[in-house]
């Protein structure tokens, strides 16, 4: 916050340009860029940057929801309490498994879908729009519908499974089953979106590469693996990072599967996002919740950093070849 404040000194209000030519005019030319930035950066500093940074500070205090103005120094107490809580570890583990369960199928299916959407065909605009449809729904709406479909006794999913002779699955209380249910909502909402991102990437791969590959006698499969995938690498890295960040802060889906803030009776599908909400707004420990937010941020930094590192190393290896 201090940074932005010093970088953009309170700019003059956009007064009508003075009638006098010369120095006043030149001053306006110098300062007017800051006037353009002022609305965004004022809001950004107050509601974007400040909360993110201040989270670290709050995480060192005892702050309760009922009295958010009173802060009592705790040092690293929130963190030690966190690491001593078994539900923290449960939710960390769940965040990881649900993250894998939702991100991997989502991106693989998106890649296949993009490949098909890239064919020349009838109704391609319709197909692209239709595939993106789930993106238009909210987490809340999508989850409520899927919670209904995944109902144990009267859900359509269990009915369909029964038709092929599979016993009803308890999609709420089973650990793996409930995590699959949560992941399904994520997959449903984001597969089409990622497919369009991949499609955009595919369309920018130069046509000559395919012609050259075809001339060398490469089959469609080989073309896909040796032309399309390498050409898409930056896009793939991008979607992996964005989806991982999304998975790290998953909240609405596990909250609304049953409407419980503890993520099921035995916390079997509680994610870090939900755990943070439970601590802050269920148990009123805002300081503790801030510590969780900070842990999530570190997690994201590590994951993004690792991703970028792997991507860079691989492209360097390839360049060296």
């Amino acid at each position: 916050m201090t940074l932005t404040a010093s970088e953009s000194p309170a700019p003059p209000r956009p007064v009508p340009p003075p009638a006098r030519r010369g120095s006043a005019r030149r001053a306006w030319q110098t300062f007017s860029p800051y006037a353009y930035l002022a609305p965004f950066f004022t809001l950004f500093a107050a509601f974007g940057l400040f909360p993110l940074i201040y989270t670290a500070f709050v995480s060192l205090y005892r702050v309760e929801l009922q009295t958010p103005g009173e802060m009592e120094w705790r040092g690293l107490g929130n963190y030690t309490a966190l690491f001593g809580d078994e539900y923290f570890w449960t939710s960390l583990r769940n965040t990881f498994t649900i993250g894998v369960l939702s991100t991997v199928p989502q991106l693989v299916m998106a890649l296949g879908l993009a490949h098909l959407l890239n064919y020349r065909m009838r109704g391609r605009t319709f197909l692209r729009t239709a595939v993106l449809l789930p993106y238009a729904t909210s987490v809340a709406a999508a989850t409520l519908v899927f919670a209904q479909l995944f109902g144990r006794d009267f859900g359509l999913v269990n009915y369909a499974l029964g038709l092929v002779g599979i016993d009803p699955v308890d999609w709420q209380n089973g650990t793996v089953a409930s995590q699959i249910a949560v992941s399904t909502v994520v997959i449903w909402r984001w597969t089409g979106y990622n497919a369009l991102i991949y499609l955009a990437g595919m369309q920018s791969i130069p046509h000559e590469l395919y012609e050259a590959a075809a001339m060398d006698g490469a089959s469609r499969w080989r073309q896909f693996f040796h032309v399309t995938l390498p050409g898409l690498r930056p896009t793939i890295v991008f979607t992996v990072i964005v989806s991982t960040i999304g998975a790290t802060q998953l909240f609405g889906e596990p909250l609304l599967l049953e409407g419980s803030i503890s993520g099921g009776i035995s916390h079997q599908y509680q994610t870090l996002g939900l755990y943070m909400y439970e601590q802050g707004w269920g148990f009123f420990h805002l300081g503790r919740a801030a510590a969780i937010a900070w842990v999530m941020l570190l997690l994201i930094v590590v994951i993004v950093g690792a991703n970028a590192l792997i991507a860079r190393r691989r492209s360097r290896k390839e360049a060296g070849r």
Partner: protein, 312 residues
């Protein structure tokens, strides 16, 4: 944070290999078909491809269909063993029930106010800042842009605790401005408009206007805004949908006495309404407005996302 994300995060998946030959079509919001034919592959789809795509479309659409079926039935219908698969006669009755039980009417109005204000404000702020970053020279430009882009990948959800303390301090808890003002901050929007204007707005045009003696403010309103309009429209669409669907912060900042649609849905799913068909009726009402936007402007949304939109 900035250093590792910046190279990978360049959110322009449209032209990672050769941006010179495939510019992200700044003037038209939709995907150019001509470009698609030249770059990329142009194989014809076989029957198998069609079949798989149709399955994918059905998978996308089925939950919507099911929402309509469930919302137009009674709770007893939903508990039958061969379940009802066609819409029933109870739609209006369930709408009435949900309007009464969860105050969806007020929620719809609040969501309209919140999303509308966020959209207008965001588009304006981001166009102003995006123009400055794209075309004006000033001290600290690089640093400010780096801060903006660097925080683009950090989920705002991680700042909710101080944000909550702030609005509690201001006495804004359960008031709509608590959701609107933080919603106006869109680092992505600034970056999006900057990219758009860098491409779409020729420097000569600004120079010419300056020689004619137009002030920077005048240049903005009569030259930048008309040219930026298609980009502003795409940003507006994406912002509106994101604002309408935003979940975490409204759930924290508002209560059921002043809900947005998502807050009302969270309350519906919170277990105190047991009638599944009523819950589905609420879900349907809350989703209809965005579906309407999507139905009318789906192509533009597809185009906007393919130009390199990012989640949220």
């Amino acid at each position: 944070m900035t250093a590792p994300t910046a190279p990978a995060a360049t959110p322009a998946p449209t032209g990672p290999t050769d941006p010179a030959t495939t510019p992200p079509a700044p003037v038209r919001a939709r995907v150019p078909r001509r470009g698609a034919r030249r770059a990329g592959r142009t194989l014809h789809a076989g029957p198998l491809a069609y079949a798989i795509l149709i399955v994918a479309v059905l998978f996308s659409a089925f939950p919507f269909y099911w929402t309509i079926v469930a919302a137009s039935r009674s709770n007893a219908d939903l508990a039958k063993v061969p379940p009802a698969l066609l819409p029933g006669p109870n739609l209006i009755k369930n709408f009435e029930a949900v309007l009464e039980e969860a105050d969806i009417g007020k929620a719809l109005l609040n969501s309209l106010i919140v999303s509308g204000s966020i959209t207008l404000g965001t588009v304006l702020c981001c166009t102003l800042a995006g123009f400055a970053f794209a075309k004006l020279r000033f001290r600290g430009r690089g640093a400010l842009l780096a801060i903006t882009v660097g925080t683009m990948m950090i989920p705002p959800q991680l700042g909710v605790i101080p944000l909550f303390m702030l609005i509690a301090e201001l006495g804004w808890v359960n008031q709509l401005q608590a959701v609107i003002l933080p919603g106006l901050v869109s680092a992505f929007g600034v970056f999006f408009m900057r990219q758009y204007l860098t491409q779409a707005l020729p420097d000569e045009l600004i120079e010419a206007a300056r020689v004619d003696g137009a002030s920077t403010a005048r240049i903005f309103w009569s030259i930048v805004v008309p040219i930026a309009r298609p980009g502003m429209a795409v940003l507006g669409l994406l912002t509106f949908m994101a604002a309408w669907n935003d979940f975490f912060w409204p759930v924290v900042a508002l209560t059921s006495s002043e809900p947005t649609v998502q807050v009302a849905l969270r309350q519906l799913g919170g277990g105190y309404v047991h009638d599944q068909s009523v819950i589905m009726a609420g879900t349907l009402l809350g989703t209809l407005p965005v579906l309407l936007v999507f139905g009318l402007l789906g192509r533009q949304i597809v185009g906007g996302i393919m130009q390199g939109a990012v989640k949220g």
